[in-house]
Symmetry: C2
Subunit: 118 residues, 2 copies
DNA sequence: CAGTATCCCGTCCGATACTG
DNA sequence: CAGTATCGGACGGGATACTG
């Protein structure tokens, strides 16, 4: 990476991140939970999923952790929960606009990993 | 974000992330430690820093955590540690090529936060 | 200056059992 | 089906004191 490009990125990033609790830095909350990214990732590829679908896609996750993670992602505004009042109950999870907008950033980070984490 | 663009991103990302322990997904290790990103961020803006500089820049961090974080980032290959055998001892930390290459991804994520985490 | 060495505590998280 | 409730252990991380 050439120096001028690097410096221009640093400058832009510095302008964005004015303090550890600025909106830009809050995006790190996404990475906090142990399961957040994995849950988000399977949802990215599925458009809409139910509780049981997540459990099938991520066999190691427990009920407790899956619930907590989904609630967390809902609070963060990246996942939408839709409940249908039927018997048996049906609940569907999908990405919000904000959730979809994460994709370019995730891809960039994943690309980096693919290059440098071999 | 339009659907075709979204789908093309999903496809590219899926190709990259074949399993939870593929190189691409290993990039998440960067976000694991509580202080990793903050340490990395101050280093981005400084090119080279010493132990004491970090402590000044991040007042709340303890010796233990700073050491552990720097070691972790060194293991991940994003930070380089250079020790000069002088009295008093001098140690300098700087970014590696791989560390600098993180910048575009970080910026993308920060941009997202700035837009959606208000 | 640049760290170790200990001690200790809170929370995260897993396992299991139960429910509307 | 889609969760809650409860318990207990492991581990991340803080505070303090010490060292080559």
């Amino acid at each position: 990476m050439q120096e001028s490009k690097f410096n221009s990125y640093v400058e832009k990033l510095t302008k964005l991140c004015t303090s550890p609790d600025c909106p830009a830095c809050k995006s790190l909350l996404l990475f906090k939970g142990k399961w957040n990214i994995e849950v988000l990732f399977v949802l990215l590829q599925q458009t809409t999923m139910r509780f049981g679908d997540f459990k099938k896609a991520i066999p190691n996750i427990t009920n407790t952790m899956l619930t907590a993670t989904l609630r967390d992602l809902e609070m963060l505004g990246v996942v939408k929960r839709t409940q249908y009042n039927e018997i048996p109950p049906r609940v569907e999870y999908s990405l919000t606009e904000s959730g979809m907008a994460l994709l370019p950033g995730f891809y960039e980070i994943a690309l980096w990993g693919d290059q440098y984490m071999k």
